[in-house]
């Protein structure tokens, strides 16, 4: 069952042009310059400090590094991070 679903989803994206973040429940990350990172569809905050933000996602973690971080907004599945961003990294499980 699970395998069957896993196979179906990429097919849906490819042939029906459905947005991938919705179908695969993957995080959608919008970055504005090096000022803002807007992450939707995350699965929870792991660590946050002035220089680091680590979020859980469907497949592993998302790690944002930089300095003078402020969480401009926190909603159940969205986070808006403000600060000077250096890198965004995906860390698999």
């Amino acid at each position: 069952m699970k395998n069957w679903q896993q196979g179906l989803k990429p097919w849906l994206i490819k042939y029906l042009a459905l947005p991938s973040d919705v179908v695969l429940e993957l995080p959608r990350i919008t970055i504005v310059g090096d000022l803002h990172v807007y992450i939707e569809n995350h699965k929870g905050l792991i660590t946050y400090s002035e220089t680091e933000l680590k979020l859980k996602s469907n497949k592993g973690y998302i790690r944002v590094m930089g300095s003078s971080f402020v969480l401009k907004m926190m909603l159940p599945e969205e986070i808006l991070l403000e600060g000077i961003i250096k890198d965004v990294k995906f860390i698999p499980d």
């Binding site: 929870g44 905050l45 660590t47 946050y48 400090s49 002035e50 971080f69 402020v70 969480l71 401009k72 907004m73 926190m74 909603l75 159940p76």
Partner: protein
């Protein structure tokens, strides 16, 4: 960002969380649907962020089973401003007092302006207004409506022909028109006086022109009563050749010709009738009306009258130049008495005669006089008396008819 918009109006609090990995507390909040914003990590074990005032109770509840310590730091937004303002008693009283002062001053007459009349009449008007209680500094509630003031002024000052009373905010504008006795215009053109109605001449007083009729003559409408042609009238009648070009002299005929005229009238009077009468018993109630709602201020019980006539006198309250939706209402409840009466045929006839006479004198104007009336015929039919009347009146029947003085 929608979630945190308008937070100024609902109020928000900055909370500082202390403990191991304080950011996880905010994560917990976010998961419960509480919007958190401007989260900053101030130290390794301390984090601060903003939450809405409404969510504070839930945050306290979330904290209960965790090891975190919460400190409320800044309270911002309108509710806090308000409570801070309310805490300052002096400021609050001053605000209330100033609003009351403005309300008070807005409901006072500041100025009475009289225009359009000479100084002496202006003086009289101001004096008269003073006696009605209208002067600068008077309380607006105790004053009648402009219409009534207008009526009273015209009645009380004979020199005034008309006065317009207009209330604009706190100022009363009065515009008067003085009565000017206008000399009766001398009619220049030659003219006849002709009869307007048929009648028998009763009295003649001719100041100009030649009377064509005499007392006790019967005239028809259109008959010349006083001729405006002085000489030559007879000549034209006698010899028709040449004498016509004798200079005719034209004058404007003038005079008063009273004639006895007669009218027939028919009136129907019912034998049964209903009357409504105010007994004189009355009670007053006072309300404050806010929008459509009436709050009783004084007089709560309804008087035990059978029928009540209600009359509301409303006085709006002003704030600067605006009328507030709040008004002070004085309700007068008067006892009404319904009566069903019957009258005899004789009474009905008398009433009918009176009614017909009144109607006729209204029709004829104040100069006419009704001399006699006679009931010609009366019938009673289904509770109604029908009366045919013959009325004699005396009135001026002369009317001016200009003479065409050649082409």
């Amino acid at each position: 960002m929608k979630q945190i918009q308008g937070s100024f109006f609902t109020g928000y609090v900055t909370i500082a969380v202390k403990g191991n990995q304080p950011e996880l507390f905010f994560q917990l909040c976010a998961q419960k649907g509480i919007s958190v914003w401007d989260v900053k990590k101030t130290a390794d074990n301390q984090c601060q962020g903003n939450v809405k005032l409404n969510d504070v109770n839930e945050i306290k509840y979330i904290r209960k089973n965790t090891g975190y310590k919460i400190r409320f730091m800044n309270k911002k937004g309108f509710p806090f401003h308000l409570s801070r303002f309310l805490q300052r008693k002096e400021l609050l009283t001053a605000a209330i007092l100033s609003i009351m002062l403005v309300l008070f001053l807005s409901n006072i007459i500041w100025e009475v302006k009289v225009t359009g009349v000479p100084k002496d009449i202006e003086e009289k008007i101001t004096k008269q207004l003073d006696s009605y209680g209208i002067h600068s500094g008077a309380w607006k509630f105790s004053i009648d409506s402009p219409k009534e003031i207008q009526k009273m002024l015209v009645e009380d000052i004979p020199e005034l022909l008309w006065v317009g009373v207009d209330q604009k905010g706190t100022t009363y504008f009065l515009e008067g028109v003085e009565k000017v006795i206008v000399e009766e215009e001398e009619a220049e053109g030659p003219r006849h006086l002709v009869a307007t109605k048929k009648g028998v001449i009763k009295n003649m007083y001719v100041t100009e022109g030649i009377p064509q009729v005499s007392v006790n003559d019967y005239v028809e409408p259109g008959d010349i009563l006083v001729s405006g042609i002085i000489n030559g009238e007879e000549e034209t009648g006698e010899d028709e050749d040449g004498e016509n070009n004798k200079e005719l002299e034209y004058v404007a005929a003038e005079g008063e010709i009273t004639a006895t005229t007669w009218y027939e009238a028919e009136v129907t009077i019912p034998l049964q009738f209903n009357t409504e009468r105010i007994t004189g018993n009355h009670e007053k109630k006072y309300y404050i009306r806010i929008g459509n709602m009436q709050l009783p201020v004084w007089g709560f019980s309804e008087p035990d009258y059978n029928a009540i006539h209600r009359e509301a006198d409303e006085r709006p309250i002003n704030f600067f130049k605006w009328e507030l939706p709040v008004a002070f209402v004085e309700m007068t409840l008067s006892e009404l008495l319904h009566e069903e009466k019957e009258r005899t045929k004789e009474e009905a006839v008398n009433i009918g005669v009176e009614q017909a006479k009144n109607e006729l004198s209204l029709q004829l104007g104040p100069d006419a006089e009704i001399i006699s009336e006679k009931v010609l015929h009366e019938t009673t039919d289904s509770g109604k008396v029908k009366v045919n009347l013959y009325i004699n009146a005396e009135e001026d029947i002369a009317q001016i008819q200009p003479l065409n003085q050649g082409d």
